[in-house]
């Protein structure tokens, strides 16, 4: 399962653009010379970051090709706010692709459950997979045009639900539950989004007996399995590094706190 294409590279920023919603940034780096599977991620650290922020930051590969490595990220804290200031030509150290990916089963329905910026890894998936057995339900807070939703919807059957208020989240949870139930025994769900959403997905997968994969966003120190800071508890009671054994896990293998 270990991929051999992971030396560190200093890539150049091609563009770093906030959308009309300034908290969502589209970052394109020069082509890294490797390709990867949807759900894999990279660790990213600007080459001339000082040491005030120690860690690199993990981001899903949104897409990768000869044209470059594309990341979509949300500014939530000190690191992402600094990353948002990157200018074309600056160097960013990148290592990856890292971790395990979403496994599609072409013989059965695969339903993507994406929440917010958790939509990122599915851009690549939608571009690559030719199967009709793929569809997406997207929950989002900001207006739809801020996300790469249209790109995906142009290729696979997609549906979006906006959550502006707390009440909307309850409605979304009900829909999630129904969709997951409908797939019990006949298909699987692939989820990426905020942790509360992943907990809900896991809960209904286990309740209804539906196959499911979730991508965790645990805080990471190294991305290579060394710091043991990103671990996830398995049902066996062990802690495994989500950067190596995940970030995509089978819902049946892990616990998600609570």
């Amino acid at each position: 399962m270990i991929d051999s294409q992971t030396p560190c590279r200093d890539l150049e920023v091609i563009s770093c653009q906030p959308g009309s919603e300034p908290s969502l940034i589209n970052l394109v780096l020069s082509a890294p010379g490797w390709t990867c599977k949807p759900g894999q991620f990279v660790m990213l650290r600007p080459a001339h970051w000082g040491a005030e922020l120690i860690w690199p930051r993990p981001f899903s590969v949104c897409d990768v090709s000869d044209e470059g490595l594309r990341i979509i990220f949300q500014t939530v804290g000190r690191g992402t706010r600094k990353l948002a200031e990157l200018a074309p030509g600056q160097k960013v150290t990148v290592w990856g692709p890292l971790g395990r990916w979403f496994r599609i089963d072409e013989t059965r329905p695969n339903l993507i459950l994406a929440g917010g910026v958790g939509i990122a890894p599915f851009v690549m998936l939608a571009r690559r997979e030719k199967t009709d057995n793929l569809s997406m339900l997207f929950g989002h807070r900001l207006d739809l045009e801020h996300y790469p939703y249209a790109e995906i919807a142009a290729r696979i059957k997609s549906e979006a639900m906006q959550q502006k208020a707390v009440a909307d989240i309850a409605v979304f949870e009900t829909v999630l539950s129904e969709r997951i139930k409908a797939l019990a025994g006949v298909g699987q769900v692939l989820a990426c989004g905020p942790e509360p959403m992943l907990k809900v997905v896991r809960k209904y997968c286990l309740l209804h007996g539906t196959d499911g994969q979730v991508s965790l966003e645990n805080r990471m120190g190294c991305g290579v399995g060394a710091c043991l800071g990103c671990v996830c508890k398995t049902v066996a009671g062990d802690y495994v590094q989500s950067c190596v054994h995940g970030p995509v896990f089978d819902v049946r293998d892990i616990e998600l706190g609570e």
Partner: protein, 302 residues
């Protein structure tokens, strides 16, 4: 310049050793560089029985540093010998990092490793702030420290024994001397400083364990001071660490008297940093006209 260093009974290609707990079992970094190019690798702390470690969250970022409360999660010595050690390529200089809750268990671990050809030396961790028993308790009391060291030395066979000191003490020289008197072949320091980080909104600690260990550039001044003090106080080689993130930093530790250094948190900042450092130190030392480490080591004018 020939970077070779002699640490008493242990000879290293160069003074760059990766620090325990920050370089996994070495295997995690094989894709990023040639393990045998490093001076040495201190393996993740190993105990007799497997340890699950502490609950999450276990790490927090702090200004120029980080806190960790991993709690010595490890696969246990048996599994390590079966599933990890055989896969580490020959040529790498491996140092086992031992953790136990009693002096006897420390001795037991030493005995097990004494028979392992692939292990070049033992590092005795009496300074982990993130475990309830053993750990830093041993490192804060000279008598307990001496007991552990004696127990290890008795059963370590021909393996050189390095004792890793805690900075969470009033006078690090007292513990250093106790360890040397009890037979330590060399000393390594510093382990992490006990620290905390909290979330003012959730009103909880950013670490499930509440207290964790502070590492990274933030602690370098404290580390340099302690290495300086210990070098004056004992007659065995000292391995310095704490916050090293550049070739300059490496030379600072050697200048105050360290024979070698360990690289910890810097491995997280970029996984090939330790490998790059070996080369950068070479360039810097040559640019300063240093002909051998013996000429430069401990030449600080005070």
């Amino acid at each position: 310049m020939d970077q070779t260093v002699h640490l008493g009974p242990l000879t290293l290609k160069n003074p760059i050793i990766t620090a325990s707990g920050t370089f996994g079992y070495g295997l995690e970094f094989m894709r990023y560089g040639d393990l045998s190019a490093l001076g040495g690798i201190c393996l993740k702390g190993i105990s007799l029985a497997p340890r699950a470690g502490n609950p999450m969250p276990r790490i927090a970022e702090t200004p120029c540093g980080m806190l960790n409360a991993i709690g010595l999660q490890n696969v246990g010595v048996e599994k390590f010998l079966k599933e990890k050690l055989p896969y580490i390529p020959a040529g790498a200089t491996l140092i086992a990092n031992l953790y136990a809750q009693t002096a006897e268990d420390f001795g037991e671990l030493a005995a097990i490793f004494s028979g392992q050809d692939k292990i070049a030396a033992l590092e005795v961790n009496i300074s982990c702030p993130n475990v309830r028993e053993g750990g830093v308790q041993f490192g804060q009391d000279p008598h307990m420290a001496a007991q552990v060291v004696s127990a290890v030395k008795k059963r370590a066979g021909t393996k050189p024994v390095m004792v890793k000191l805690s900075p969470n003490v009033t006078d690090v020289r007292v513990i250093a001397k106790a360890a040397v008197d009890a037979g330590a072949d060399m000393l390594s320091l510093i382990n992490t400083l006990a620290g905390m980080a909290v979330d003012i909104r959730k009103r909880n600690s950013r670490l499930a364990n509440v207290v964790g260990g502070l590492s990274g550039p933030a602690i370098k001044p404290v580390a340099l001071r302690m290495v300086h003090q210990v070098v004056q106080a004992v007659n065995v080689p000292v391995i310095g660490m704490g916050g090293i993130v550049s070739a300059e930093d490496v030379l600072e530790f050697i200048l105050v008297g360290a024979h070698a250094v360990q690289i910890g948190t810097y491995n997280f900042m970029r996984p090939d940093n330790a490998f790059r450092l070996v080369e950068e130190v070479q360039v810097l030392a040559e640019s300063l006209g240093i002909e051998s480490w013996d000429d430069y080591r401990g030449t600080l004018k005070v």
